[in-house]
């Protein structure tokens, strides 16, 4: 399920523990996309039909979303830059991040076009690495040395259609996934202190802000202005640097960063008083979405 996989496994593992089917579940991810050769430039979509017109790459799908978002709502490349700058600033405070050199909006605007309207600094990294997390009962976790983090709510939603669905470009199933997670957790967007939003491309953060209810449809571009998603802002997003600047572990590190923030382990990038974190993921072209609400245990 691509970039939704980590959260989907978190959901399955939580259910397995809650049902008594398992005492503890290790969820494990590894990838060698950087040294092993990226697979992300293949014909976008399924079958051979899109490459006929030169439609390749995950970047192009998100570029289509960005262009339509710009057209309908007035979103700008400068607003996309805000997302890239915030993620890089956060990565600069994360010793484990791959890209720590701070960037400016001007750097973003000067970076080369990849698939217009997306520039190089709108795109996530391609990385080697591994991630694991362990899910067990809260009771069991409380007996361990580290502060536990509770999985309050999880949700996933998937679309079997691509362009056959007129709303496909806007990935409406993301909203369904986020709402399911909020409902199970019994919390609302205004309760969230910090968010780890899937950022394969900058535009994805803007769309997730809308789908996760932090602003209304079309307002994501304005939301990211004025440092609102930076540390110290109203809703710090991707506090470790995200897929854009920490490492492209396909969203798995978003879960890890959620856990670290709620444990208060983040040092210079710690969000003070963080008790609730929303984590989101999205994968398989635009078709799989998942979300989780994590809480300080």
């Amino acid at each position: 399920m691509g970039g939704a996989t980590g959260l989907v496994l978190l959901q399955l593992a939580s259910f397995a523990v809650a049902s008594g089917a398992a005492n503890a579940v290790a969820c494990v991810f590894g990838d060698a996309a950087r040294t092993g050769g990226s697979r992300f430039s293949a014909a976008a979509g399924w079958g051979d039909s899109w490459g006929i017109w030169g439609m390749f790459s995950a970047a192009a799908n998100s570029a289509l979303t960005a262009r339509r978002h710009m057209h309908e709502f007035g979103t700008t490349s400068l607003q996309l830059a805000e997302v890239a700058v915030a993620c890089r600033r956060h990565a600069s405070l994360n010793e484990a991040a791959s890209m720590r050199e701070p960037i400016t909006v001007e750097d973003h605007q000067a970076s080369r076009m990849v698939v217009d309207p997306l520039r190089l600094l709108d795109c996530c990294l391609i990385s080697d690495g591994g991630v694991a997390f362990i899910v067990t009962s809260l009771e069991r976790a409380r007996a361990l040395r580290r502060r536990p983090v509770a999985v309050l709510g999880v949700g996933q939603a998937n679309s079997p259609e691509t362009i056959g669905n007129p709303a496909w470009w806007y990935v409406p199933h993301q909203e369904t996934a986020a709402q399911a997670a909020y409902r199970m957790a019994g919390v609302a967007p205004r309760d969230i202190h910090v968010a780890q939003l899937y950022d394969n491309f900058t535009i994805s953060v803007i769309v997730w802000l809308e789908h996760a209810g932090f602003c209304k449809r079309g307002e994501g571009g304005a939301f990211v202005e004025g440092g609102r998603i930076r540390l110290g802002g109203a809703l710090p997003v991707n506090t470790a640097g995200g897929n854009l600047s920490e490492s492209y572990m396909q969203g798995w590190l978003h879960i890890v960063e959620g856990v670290r923030q709620l444990r208060g382990e983040c040092g210079a990038r710690q969000v003070p008083g963080a008790e609730l974190c929303l984590v989101t993921g999205r994968g398989m072209t635009l078709n799989c979405a998942a979300a989780a609400v994590l809480a300080r245990g």
């Binding site: 051979d48 790459s57 289509l64 217009d116 056959g164």
Partner: protein, 136 residues
Amino acid sequence: MADKPLPTITDENRPFWEATRHGELRLQRCRQCDRYRYPIAASCPRCLSLDAEWAAVSGRGRVFSYVVFHQVYHQAFKDDVPYNVVLVRLDEGPFMFSNVVGVGNEQLRCDMPVTVVFERVTDEVTLPRFRPEDNR
């Protein structure tokens, strides 16, 4: 250098490619709910009926969204960059990927009206592309 991708013609999609070869855009239309559909599929995504006919469409639509490739993802497109790919919404409802020809990339706009043109690529394959349509 690798050739550009061509469609794999199957029993399911042959009517589409035979129609374009003859300068016509035909899509599947569900006989149960009358909706046109694309991508080509065995069943209707709305009512699941397997009963469909191939019906000619107007070839007119609007650019829903568009992108311009600067990155070369496939070597056969190396000399084409920067080239556009558009998502066209046909007047009959379905969306399809294509390219807009006869206009500079900088003149592309969302919602601009377009109409189909046919470009022969091989003896077997003629690609539907679109050109801007004025006065709409």
